[in-house]
């Protein structure tokens, strides 16, 4: 079999890294080497992503290239879309790993195993970005999810961490069952596994109630991954109970993996069934935004607040899917919707990772994640307070920080469609943006305008507490530069706008 090893290089490098971490962990050398190897592996895997992406402009790339490389009978495709997301997954995992170093090292529990699991999960995500058939998609998704069950319960001594892992596991397994049931119905009806085949079969066979149920159940299985309401129940408890770096990982990599599945399935496999998934995702988007935001309003714990905010942000990311609810939607508009979701995912990854990095840095210092305890942060840690304002303002969508651009393309994607339903979703999104603004602003207000609470010992304020670890500093700088650059030069994303054309081709 003639295998395009260049196309598979990111996965191969990551796979080798996973094994290397496992082996190094057995050696009697300091455990942080496992983290170093993991980080090096992630950056190394990034290299082929770049060479693949810029293949046409590179000299050594001699093979006649088209926009995409199709492997294994169409099950595995490397195109711009998958490369962009591979880059996202690798970058976000690298940041999550940087966040973990200090955190996991502090308790000194099973560092090697932890990085091994995180990299396994990342490998799943990278494969998922290229998966173009039901089985590969499912296996990749479970590879993403499986290790995170263990990671969520990493603080073994903490009952909340145990509860976090157990709830996550039980609801996760239930959702996997729903997903498989749906996929089996789709396969049973169409007799096809590849997305292209399913699309052709649905076009030829026409509609059927059975197929509809299969599609709905498949997508609902993914609703769990993206924490869409009402499949979000595990999210806050798990986010709060899990170690914060794991929460960051879950809220970005794991969630994005779910969205990638939704994107490829909806726009490719179920492209002819827009009247099924359009309304379904419309409802999920509206519910997720509204419920996530409403609950976030009353949170006094910053991690829990970010947990609910990530549910709401997930709703915003779902909004462009809602454009498909209109019967008269054009191919161009669907492409724009696809582009909007990918853009939002990229920006969300950077800003959410940054927000969690700030929370970890602050929690290290203050030994508290209560927002009230963060009052007056600017008076003794102005840099941290500035970064907090930066990331939360980005989440709120204030220009010229990256988040605003995500919101702009999100609004445009539904407002551009001439349909009452699409417009209604835009209105819901606007109202929710305001509510979200309210609680993000409250956090910024607390850090900048409130008094330092008496409960914080003076020693912490004078900087006697632990300084921010170098790895964490690196993560903070990376994400901060990211939100600023993406906000001021959104062209960087707009230039990869042809992601939509390769996946949603043929609308």
């Amino acid at each position: 079999m003639n295998v395009d090893y260049h196309a598979l290089a990111p996965e191969i490098i990551l796979g080798i890294t996973v094994l290397a971490v496992l082996v190094v962990d057995l050696l009697r050398i300091p455990k942080y080497w496992t983290a170093v190897i993991g980080l090096v592996g992630l950056f190394a895997a990034f290299v082929p992503v770049l060479t693949l992406g810029f293949c046409e402009s590179l000299d050594f790339c001699t093979e006649p290239e088209t926009a995409q490389r199709v492997l294994f009978g169409g099950s595995f495709v490397v195109d711009t879309f998958s490369l962009v997301l591979k880059g996202l997954f690798l970058g976000a995992t690298a940041v999550a790993l940087l966040l973990s170093v200090g955190y996991i090292e502090e308790d000194r529990y099973w560092q090697g195993e932890f990085y091994f699991l995180m990299l396994c999960s990342a490998l799943g995500a990278v494969v998922l970005a290229s998966s173009r058939d039901l089985v590969t998609l499912f296996v990749a998704l479970e590879l993403v999810t499986g290790p995170t069950f263990l990671m969520a319960g990493w603080r073994k001594g903490d009952p909340r961490s145990n509860e976090a892992a157990l709830k996550y596991f039980i609801i996760g397994v239930l959702s996997a069952a729903i997903l498989l049931f749906g996929m089996s119905l789709v396969y049973g009806y169409t007799g096809e596994l590849t997305f292209g085949g399913i699309r052709a079969a649905t076009a030829a066979l026409g509609d059927s109630a059975l197929l509809t149920i299969g599609v709905i159940l498949t997508l609902l299985g993914f609703a769990f991954k993206v924490s869409a309401v009402p499949f979000h129940f595990w999210t806050p408890d798990t986010y709060q109970g899990a170690p914060i770096p794991v929460t960051a990982y879950l809220s970005v990599v794991s969630k994005t993996a779910g969205f990638v599945g939704l994107l490829t399935l909806s726009y490719q496999a179920f492209a002819e069934l827009r009247d099924v998934w359009g309304p379904l995702l419309w409802i999920l988007a509206a519910l997720s935004m509204t419920v996530g935001n409403l609950i976030a309003v009353r949170q006094d714990d910053i991690v829990r607040l970010l947990g609910y905010s990530s549910i709401a942000q997930g709703g915003f990311i779902l909004v462009p899917f809602g454009a498909a609810v209109a019967g008269n939607v054009t191919g161009d508009q669907l492409e724009q919707a696809f582009f909007a979701t990918v853009t939002y995912l990229l920006i969300y990854a950077v800003m959410n990772m940054g927000a969690f990095a700030v929370v970890i840095a602050g929690a290290n210092r203050l030994k508290s994640t209560l927002i009230a305890d963060w009052g007056g942060l600017s008076s003794y840690a102005p840099g941290l307070a500035g970064l907090l304002a930066l990331f939360f303002a980005s989440l709120a969508g204030i220009p010229p920080i990256a988040g605003w651009f995500a919101k702009l393309v999100m609004f445009s994607s539904v407002l551009g469609v001439d349909s009452g339903w699409a417009t209604a979703l835009a209105v819901i999104a606007v109202l929710n943006s305001v509510v979200a603004f309210y609680y993000y602003a409250k956090v910024i207000k607390s850090a900048w305008f409130d008094q330092v609470p008496d409960t914080i010992p003076a020693a912490e304020l004078r900087g006697m507490g632990r300084a921010v670890a170098p790895s964490l500093q690196f993560a903070l700088v990376l994400t901060a530069v990211g939100v600023l650059v993406l906000g001021i030069f959104p062209n960087l994303i707009a230039d990869v706008g042809d992601v939509a054309k390769t996946v949603a081709a043929g609308f």
Binding site: I213, F233, K407, G497
Partner: protein, 776 residues
């Protein structure tokens, strides 16, 4: 010099960044750094003025996101010129003032950084010719103003007010963004000047305009959103003087002025904008009469004046736009002067309460003179700029026979004269001694030159431009040709109206008892009608948001895993079921009744399953569950799959055994379920799920289209040299799968073996950190 305006705006942001990086102590240097970009803006505006007034705007294309129509294109026309000049000139006055206003321990550097950043954003709004670029600057002013209003950290009220202001304006801002996107879709371009030159029409445009109105109204404190402005008076006074009189609140009016030439003829324009403007003008003036805090008098006065401008823009004809812009310029001058005077009083006397201040006029006559000049301009007294502009407005209203608007504006203007008097006498007058409050006044120290200099300059400008209105008129007419500002209009009807307005204002002021009575009556009537006040509505809304949030949290996040799973199951059932019914899906076909043995076995399974539920002890439940499994094995036997039955028997046995081990560590009995309804609901969910799965199984079997794969296997089995199909599948058809499974089992066995050995030979190491293990 085409991109000079843009560079000047950028210079403000650079200046803000430099200020933030400076050491906190260097106040003098901070002032210089803050003044520099504004001075550059004044110079730039002066150099460009000649060409711009001749109708030749400075334009530059500054591309940002061409694919989405987003750019920072510059169009420095006369309107932008007026705003840039006002922002920069008044800004310089405010910066000088702030240097004297803030106590040495306050972080002046941070205040100036925010102020300069704000000024840059504000100029950006004025010079940008792109909808989305405008939005970006718009939001930047919101954010910087948020930080400026909350600048006085120690005041709790400042924090609440800052949040309040940002919420209101950001709501409007987001609505406006929606409007911009729609307008962009309708017009096909995001360039403002092009849109106005060939305005689109239709429903989309109307919706877009309404959304944009929301943005403009919230920013310019129009009813019913006006309430944030008085609240924002918690800001330090220099910030109020700048943001809440001269600049930020004018952004809404500016946007309306920009759009008016293209859209004033649209059906939705005049009714909405005029009504809102008139209502705001009345409400603001009316409430200004009730205040005792000097700053609040000015704040409500600002609301009222903004309503005045909005109403004029609402009428939409060129002459009205001209008048609106003239009023805007006059207002920027007199209102910032008055704010700065209040700041000086507050700074020296420590209070701004007109019931407490007394005799200040005699102590500080020069400050009083400045205040009188500005207040007279506000009331519309000749020969100040306020007179010329109000005269222009009245004349325009008379010309166009806009009687209702004229009536409302006249009444509100009379009230304006009244609160102008109230302000002057409240701040500087001598009050009769009263037993309730200790007056503050005669012992107040004179303010330093930085505190009286800037307001004196601004106040004098109002006088100079009032005497020579041509200077202002030249620029205003270039931006909105149509009207004319004159010092002396001659004896005509408009002058008569103006005189009547001022006379009425004085008369109302002279009868405070009657006014108080009327105010009381109106307040009582409004209370009786249960008309919600705007501020009450805001509180109610925030309260409501919090309460709804609590309810939603309580309902959805009760922490119970069974409830969570129940909701998920119900959702996964109802959505497909609805789709099924909606699609007119087939109903499940019941298969023919089976043999007696099958029926008996089925009944047995059901009975055992129910018994599981009734079991009180855990062990009993587990054994009964095993019984269900064994019975299913029986079903396999009946259908001729003894190997499968055997496998199931083994699995069930192992499961029960494992359970039994675990149960040794758990209480023997289940905890009682006290909540009957909860049990009923669980039973319901379980039944529905079971029913759904059964129905789905029946239906999917019933609508099979392709021949089952089993037939193929049976057919092919002899070719593979076997008769037992299962064996053939395992060893031939899917041999590779079997190999994989064997590998997995072997790996798992090795792992289990290792674990078992380890626990036997080593103590538990779960809780020993890596370091300890490394050391071991």
């Amino acid at each position: 010099m085409t991109s000079w305006p843009f560079l000047v705006v950028a210079a403000h942001f650079v200046g803000a960044a430099v200020l933030l990086a400076m050491p906190r102590r260097s106040r003098r240097a901070a002032v210089v750094v803050a003044l520099a970009p504004m001075a550059a803006a004044v110079v730039m505006a002066a150099l460009a003025a000649g060409a711009v007034i001749d109708g030749d705007p400075v334009t530059a294309d500054i591309s940002w996101l061409p694919a989405l129509g987003v750019s920072l294109d510059v169009r420095f026309d006369a309107l932008a010129l007026i705003f840039t000049f006002a922002i920069a000139a008044i800004g310089m006055a405010i910066i000088t003032y702030a240097a004297g206003y803030f106590a040495p321990e306050a972080d002046l550097r941070r205040f100036l950084a925010l102020l300069v950043g704000f000024a840059g954003a504000m100029m950006g709004i004025a010079i940008t010719d792109n909808l989305f670029g405008l939005f970006v600057f718009w939001e930047l002013t919101t954010v910087t103003s948020y930080l400026l209003v909350g600048f006085q950290d120690e005041k709790g009220s400042a924090r609440a007010a800052a949040l309040h202001a940002i919420l209101t304006t950001s709501l409007g801002g987001l609505a406006m963004l929606g409007g911009f996107v729609l307008l962009f879709q309708a017009a096909g371009t995001a360039t403002l000047s092009e849109i106005v030159a060939s305005p689109p029409s239709g429903t989309t445009t109307t919706v877009a305009l309404v959304l944009i109105f929301l943005g403009a109204f919230t920013k310019s404190a129009q009813a019913p959103f006006h309430f944030w402005l008085p609240g924002a008076m918690a800001a330090p006074t220099p910030a109020s003087a700048y943001l809440h009189s001269a600049t930020m609140v004018k952004a809404g009016v500016l946007l309306l002025l920009r759009l008016a030439p293209g859209f004033a003829a649209t059906g939705v324009w005049t009714p909405v904008v005029l009504t809102v403007g008139l209502a705001t003008m009345m409400i603001g003036a009316w409430r200004a009469l009730r205040q005792t805090d000097l700053k609040l008098i000015l704040a409500y006065g600002t609301v009222s004046q903004l309503g005045f401008m909005t109403a004029l823009v609402g009428l939409g004809s060129p002459v009205m736009l001209h008048a609106a812009l003239a009023v805007l310029v006059a207002h920027a001058l007199f209102k910032s002067t008055l704010f700065l005077v209040v700041g000086a009083i507050d700074h020296q006397a420590g209070t701004r309460d007109i019931r407490v201040l007394s005799g200040l006029g005699r102590r500080l006559p020069w400050l009083a003179l400045i205040a009188v000049l500005a207040a007279a301009s506000m009331a519309g007294v000749a020969p100040l700029l306020g007179f010329a502009t109000k005269e222009a407005a009245v004349a325009a209203l008379l010309d166009e026979h806009a009687w209702i608007a004229l009536a409302v504006i006249s009444v509100a203007s009379a009230l304006t004269a009244t609160y102008a008097l109230r302000f002057v006498f409240g701040a500087f007058g001598t009050k009769p001694p009263s037993g309730e409050v200790d007056h503050v006044g005669p012992e107040v120290a004179a303010p330093g030159p930085t505190l009286w200099g800037p307001p004196a300059l601004l106040g004098a400008a109002g006088l100079v431009f009032g005497i020579v209105p041509g200077a202002v008129d030249a620029v205003v007419s270039a931006a909105a040709p149509g009207g004319k500002l004159v010092l002396w209009p001659g004896w005509n009807l408009a002058l008569g109206v103006s005189i009547a307005i001022i006379a009425a204002g004085v008369a109302i002021y002279a009868a405070p008892a009657a006014l108080a009575h009327l105010q009381h009556r109106v307040a009582a009537r409004l209370a009786a009608l249960h008309v919600p006040s705007a501020e009450g509505s805001y509180r109610w809304l925030i309260d409501m948001l919090n309460r709804v949030a609590d309810r939603v949290t309580g309902i959805t996040q009760n922490g119970s895993l069974p409830v969570y799973i129940g909701v998920i199951l119900i959702t996964t059932l109802t959505v497909p079921a609805a789709a099924w019914i909606g699609a007119g899906g087939a109903l499940p076909q019941l298969p023919p009744l089976g043999s007696a043995a099958e029926i008996a076995l089925g009944v047995f399974v059901a009975v055992v399953a129910i018994a599981v539920l009734r079991a009180k002890r855990r062990l009993a439940a587990v054994i009964l569950l095993g019984g269900v499994g064994y019975s299913i094995a029986g079903v396999f036997v009946l259908f001729g799959a003894p190997d499968l039955a055997l496998t199931l028997l083994l699995v069930e046995t192992v499961t029960v055994a494992v359970f039994a081990f675990v149960l040794g560590r758990l209480p023997r009995r289940f905890e009682e379920q006290p909540w009957r309804l909860g049990r009923a609901m669980r039973a319901g969910v379980a039944l529905v799920v079971g029913g759904f799965v059964t129905a789905a199984a029946l239906v999917t079997n019933g609508i099979r289209t392709a021949p089952p794969v089993a037939d193929v296997y049976v057919e092919l089995a002899p070719d593979a040299g076997g008769r037992n199909v299962v064996n053939v599948i395992l060893t031939d058809f899917r041999a590779l799968d079997t190999l994989g499974e064997i590998t997995v089992i072997a790996a798992a066995a090795v792992g289990i073996g290792a674990l078992v050995m380890r626990t036997r030979t080593q103590r538990r190491t779960d809780d020993v950190p890596d370091t300890a293990r490394e050391a071991a």
